[in-house]
Structure formats: C-alpha cells, structure tokens
C-alpha cells in the first residue's frame, strides 16, 4: 500500500469512520485530544529541559515559569483526564453490558475538558500567569507579579474542566446504578454499595452463608472508587478557584482584599488534601483497576486473589483521604502528629496497597504463561515497572529525616513524579489504548509494529533515564521550580535532555503510527456525527 494511500485512508483502508457508533466516536475524540495535549506537555517539557541546560534568550523568566505552570496541568488535566475519562465512559457500560446513562453528558465532559484546557493554557501563554499548580497562598493573588485579567481567565479554564469532571462523575455513578429502558428494575443502591466497596466491607463482619455477592466486576469497582476521589478533588479545586477569583475580581474593581484573611498554612493543607486525591487517590486506584482489567483481558483468566484486590482498593481509598501531610513535612508550623501519622505512617500504606496490586497483576500474568509479548503486555509491564520504581522513591521522601534534604529538589520531580506519570501511568494508558484500539475502531489495523516497538523502548528508556538523571541532580542539591544560570548541574541536565528527546521521538512515532493506521480521512471522520444509535457501544452486528 502506498504511503499516500495509507496516509489518506489508513492501513489497508480498514478504518471506516461511518461504521462507528456515537460512543466509539466519543472515546476516539477523547483519545485524539488527549494525545494532542500530551504532545503540548512533551514539547513544553523539552523546551524546559533545554532551558535547564542553557537559558534560552528568546524566552524570559516569566515565560519559563508560565511553561512550568502549564506543563503539569496540560499533562494531567488535558491529556490524562481526557484519556481516562474517555476510556472509563466506554468501559463502565461495556463491562456492565448496558448503555451509558447519558451520552449528552459524556459529550459535555469532552467539550468542557477540551475547551477548559485550551482556555487556561492560552491565558497562561498570553498573560504569563504563573503561580504553578501548587498555588501557594497568597501567590495566585499577587498582582504585583501577575495580571488579574489573565489570571481570571486561567482560573475559569480550570473551573470549566472541573465542571466537566463533575459531569463525568455523575455519568459514571448513574451508569452503574440506573435501569436502562426495557430492563428489569436494577438494584441501584446495592450496585453502588458494591461499587464503592460498602457491601464488601460489611461481608467482613457477616457469616459466610450471609455474605452478599459482588454485583459489579472488580475493574468497575476500581473505577467507581477512583471516581469518588475525582469528585472530591473537583470540589476542592472548584472551591479554591472561586476563592482566588473573588480576590481577582475585587482587585479589578479597585477594592483589594486582605490576603492575610486566608491562613496560608490552612490553605496549604486544604489544597494539598484535594490535590493529593489526584496523585495518591485516583491515579493509584485507577491504575490498579486498569492493571487488573488489562491482566484479565490479556490472559483471559480470573484475577489472582480477587477478594484481597477489592479490599486493597478500599484501603487505598481511605489512605488517599489521609496522606496529604507528606507534602508538608518541611512546614515547621505543621503539627507534629500530622507529620508522623498522615505524612509518614499512612503514606507508607501506599507501599503496601500498590505493592499488592503489583503482585496480583504479575501473579495473574504468570498463571497464564506462555503469553505472546503483545504491545499491550509489554506496555503493561512497563507501567508496572514505573510504579515499582516511583512508589518507593516517594515513600523515601515521605520521611521527616530524608525530606529535610530532599524536599523541592529534582529528586521529587524526577524519580518520583516523572517516573510515576511517564512510565507508570502513561505506559499503563498506552497498554489500554493498544488493547482497546481494535474494539473501538471496529478492527482497524496498526500501521507499523516496528514503530510500536520503537515507541515502547524509546519511551521506557527515555522516561526512566530522564527521571534518573534528574534524581542524581536532586541528590546533589539541584532544586526544582528555579533557574540555574551558570550551568551548575549541566552534566545531568544534558543527559536528562537527551532522554527527554527520546521521549519526544517516542511520542512522534506513536502519533504517526496512529494517524497512518486511521488515515487523515479517518481522523477527520471521528469528529463528524455518527448516524448510529447512541445507546450502542459497538455496532449491533459485532455484539
């Protein structure tokens, strides 16, 4: 097949957008936008990697910190939220064998996440609003450094995403509980109780013959529990956004409010409590649930120690509500009991819960050997390795003694954050993309296996290498969130830059492979309306 033909019509012309249901189109839209925003984040990351080696003259300090503010937000909210929301809006009805509760609401989630991300990205880019994602009070309301108009638009962009997130939460829980038209009445309350783990918890205190059955599958339970944290997080970010917006509007109207009215430490606790529901809550729970789903789909076998896995997900949910204080171990006014109990002890539970998920997934794969080293399997193994590297790194820094010499260094952001997100989370998501690709495209074929192999190795080596070199710089004192003007850590930054370039090449190879698989006409076709029934997940002849 000629290059031109493949580029226009996709590999062997197998992808037919007209055959897609509205739900298939919706998930593919989420994927396309998620990958575009991932591209934004990778390019921003690469610019900052170069800046850390030698500040670029064409980019001012303010622009650099704007990039530093936008980079994690576009990466997590624009890209990961899009990929995760799209996948779960498809998977929950797919696994429960019933239609999504509201296709319209799903569409609104897509639009709000897409538009909201573009809004805050543009607002930051144009106005240089750069308080970082941490927004430590009163920095987001410091109008001697930041333009309140740009800041207001930035906050409105974040708020739009959070409203879309709330719609996602409603849609997920409604889909679990509702009774589709023509169906026998579903036990909505019991389904929700099973999904969030309440009935499983009660089983622990019942005699064996009185125990109730799990009404939802384990992956659905994982999605539901992660969605609880998603809802709480959206509430915290919305509230914080409104608070900042009040200060901005007051300033624009000429009546500055006292920033001392807000206690900076209380605010920091509140904000990290909410923010950690992403990092230590929904990410770990969603990832564990996705590992379980992928392991069972790849092997065709039941999950090893399924009941323990369910219990661990519930423990993780409670842990995620009580770990935030590990971000405040260097805050001297933070009460000591919070540092020790929340910051150290509860945080250590993440080693246990994530360790169990790791072991259960590996044991399930082992029980089905020999397995073919498919794309989904190799990326799943990469994802498992990412968390095996990043979680212990996080546990080490969540220690009162070690945090004193690690906090805000490149160690935190390298071996912990970037390895967790790029290797652990992103490779797990890539595994899901590879396994769902034929299902949501009605059998489209991947353009090049060689490119998929290159994508795997370049991403794995680039991500681990970049995290490692950042970590080495961090152990030698290099801070995050600052600029070094005299090449103090150049050796490590050049090596991290080379690894960053490998990550960029990996993404370009993957993106090219997907575009060539679907074809330009196919990609455009994803964004045209489907004439099929919105209640169908896949075309009726495939059921």
């Amino acid at each position: 097949m000629s290059f031109k033909n493949a580029f226009m019509n996709g590999e062997q012309g197998l992808f037919k957008p007209a055959s897609l249901t509205p739900m298939q189109k919706l998930i593919l839209r989420f994927v396309v936008i998620g990958l575009i925003y991932y591209g934004f984040a990778v390019i921003e990351g690469m610019i900052m990697r170069i800046y850390q080696i030698e500040p670029i003259k064409a980019i001012s300090d303010f622009q650099y910190f704007t990039l530093l503010t936008a980079h994690p937000l576009v990466g997590i909210i624009g890209s990961t939220y899009s990929l995760v929301f799209g996948a779960f809006l498809f998977l929950v009805p797919f696994l429960m064998k019933k239609p999504l509760w509201s296709f319209k609401l799903g569409n609104w989630t897509f639009l709000l996440v897409t538009i909201g991300t573009l809004t805050f990205w543009l607002a930051g880019f144009i106005s240089h609003y750069a308080p970082l994602y941490t927004l430590y009070w009163p920095l987001p309301a410091d109008f001697s450094q930041f333009n309140p108009v740009g800041g207001s638009i930035f906050i409105i962009g974040i708020a739009l995403v959070m409203v879309g997130t709330v719609f996602f939460v409603i849609n997920i829980f409604k889909t679990i509980a509702y009774t589709p038209e023509g169906w026998e009445k579903q036990p909505g309350g019991a389904l929700l109780a099973s999904a969030i783990g309440y009935s499983g918890l009660r089983n622990l205190f019942r005699k064996k013959k009185e125990q109730v059955k799990h009404l939802v599958s384990l992956p659905v339970a994982a999605i539901a529990r992660g969605t609880v944290d998603t809802a709480l997080n959206a509430g915290v970010l919305l509230f914080t956004g409104v608070l900042i917006l009040v200060y901005m509007i007051a300033h624009l109207l000429g009546g500055d409010l006292k920033d001392t009215a807000i206690d900076a430490l209380l605010y920091k606790n509140w904000f990290w409590w909410g923010l950690d529901l992403i990092a230590d809550g929904l990410v770990l729970i969603f990832v564990a649930g996705t590992w379980y789903l992928l392991a069972t789909m790849i092997t065709g076998k039941k999950l090893f120690m399924q009941n323990i896995a369910r219990a661990a997900l519930l423990v993780e949910l409670v842990v995620s509500w009580t770990v935030w204080s590990h971000h405040l171990l260097s805050d001297q006014a933070q009460p000591g009991f919070l540092k020790i109990i929340s910051g150290e002890m509860v945080t250590a539970f993440e080693l246990i819960t994530q360790g169990l998920a790791f072991y259960i997934t590996l044991a399930t794969l082992w029980s089905a050997r020999p397995l073919k080293m498919s794309n989904e399997l190799k990326f799943l193994l990469g994802g498992l390795l990412g968390f095996a590297l990043a979680v212990p790194a996080g546990i080490m820094q969540a220690d009162i003694g070690l945090n004193r010499i690690l906090h805000n260094t490149q160690w935190i952001i390298g071996p912990h954050v970037h390895v967790a997100i790029l290797i652990g989370l992103t490779m797990t998501l890539y595994s899901a993309v590879y396994i769902l690709f034929p299902i949501v495209t009605n059998g489209a074929k991947l353009y090049s296996q060689k490119l998929a192999n290159f994508h795997f190795w370049a991403h794995l080596i680039g991500g681990i290498g970049m995290g490692a070199f950042m970590g080495m710089a961090g152990l030698e004192g290099m801070l995050r969130r600052t600029i070094y003007l005299n090449g103090e850590f150049n050796l490590y930054m050049i090596l991290a830059g080379i690894c960053g370039a490998l990550l960029l090449l990996a993404f370009l190879a993957f993106f090219y492979n997907i575009v060539m698989s679907l074809g330009l006409k196919g990609v455009i076709g994803i964004f045209t309306p489907s004439k099929l029934n919105v209640k169908d997940l896949v075309p009726s002849e495939q059921k």
Binding site: D61, F62, F65, T134, Y136, W137, P138, L139, D142, F146, T260, A264, L265, K268, F304, L328, S330, D331, Q332, A333, G336, I340, M345, A348, L351, I352, G355, L356, Y359, L362, A363, L365, W366, S367, A368, P370, L371, K372, K378, L381, L385, A388, L389, A393, M396, D399, I400, G401, L402, R404, I405, H407, N408, P415, A468, M472, G477, L479, T482, L485
Partner: protein, 183 residues
C-alpha cells in the same frame, strides 16, 4: 551530628541497588512469561509473605531513619532544646533580611534559624559551595518557621530560597553569608 551528605550517599546507594534489582526482575519476568513453565500455580503463602514484607518495610523505614538521622528527633523536639545561637531572619518582597551581614556560628553549636515571611510563601535552605544542600524548610507567612541545626564542621554556606514565590523570586540567593568556624 552526621553530615547530611553522608545520609544522601547512603540513600543513593540503597535506591540505586533497588532500581537495578527491580529492572532486572521485571526483565526476567517479561522473558519468563513468554516461555512455558513447569507450573503456573502461584503459592498463596508467597503472596502473604510478600504482604508481610511490605508491612515490615513500610513501618521500619521511619523507625530506622528516626534512630539514625540525628536531625529528625532534634527537629521534632526542638522546642525543648536550648540553641547556642538564634538568628531572626525576615523575608519580604523577595529579599532575605539578615540580622547581620554574616551569620557566624562556632563548630559544634546548635543554631536556630527563625524565619518570618511578611508576604508570600518562600523557602529557606543552606547550600554548600558545590551547590549541594545542607538542609531546607518552608517559610509560610503568618506562622513560625524555625529550624534547629547542629554544625559539626567548619565551612561557608549560601542561603537560597527553596520555594517558588513567583518569577521575581527565582534568584533569591545570598552567597557565602553563613560561616561556621572553629572556636
């Protein structure tokens, strides 16, 4: 008190060994699952042993560090320890305001740095000449931010903000302003 560089060296060795080991284990696992094996059955005893290992590891890490890293108990109990020197430092408008041009400390002294912010959230860290970090803390407005540190070696240190306080705060550096000298 043991130097923080010694603790960092220990951590570097421990984590590097772990990282290499887990990468090798995953490589071995990836190879083995593509091959037929004698048995695919997983022992439940192995699973519970692994769980027990994680519990012991998670709990013991902090107990070990608390008993081996000297500044950890000193930090928790600093209100009960009398410092040899106290330095009251103010931060305002992205500037550190020191009580004197140089902060002079004798070797062996416990020095308390009490840092107050009058506007934003900052950081306060001491750095060696090779840019490596001796220690740091956060400086939160409206709250007491104090750190007690015992200096057992002579040397010259630079103060640097370790927290982002907007683009204006990127170069909050006071070079060589802390001097630790033999008595």
């Amino acid at each position: 008190m043991v130097d923080s560089q010694v603790v960092l060296n220990g951590q570097t060795i421990a984590y590097t060994c772990y990282a290499i080991a887990i990468i090798l284990v995953m490589g071995w696992f990836g190879y083995k699952i593509t091959r037929s094996g004698k048995s695919s059955k997983i022992s439940h005893a192995l699973f519970y042993s692994f769980t027990g290992f994680l519990v012991v590891l998670g709990v013991s890490l902090h107990i070990v560090t608390y008993n081996t890293i000297p500044w950890a108990p000193m930090d928790i109990n600093r209100d009960d320890i009398k410092p040899d020197k106290v330095f009251n430092i103010t931060v305002e408008d992205h500037q550190f305001i020191l009580p004197s041009e140089k902060l002079i400390i004798n070797v062996g002294d416990k020095a308390l740095f009490d840092v107050t912010s009058n506007d934003l959230t900052y950081g306060f860290g001491l750095f060696r000449n090779d840019n490596s970090m001796l220690f740091q803390m956060q400086v939160v407005p409206g709250h007491r931010n104090d750190i007690l540190w015992q200096f057992n070696k002579s040397g010259v240190y630079t103060i640097r903000s370790t927290e982002y306080s907007g683009p204006k705060g990127a170069q909050m550096i006071l070079k060589d302003v802390v001097e630790v000298t033999a008595k």
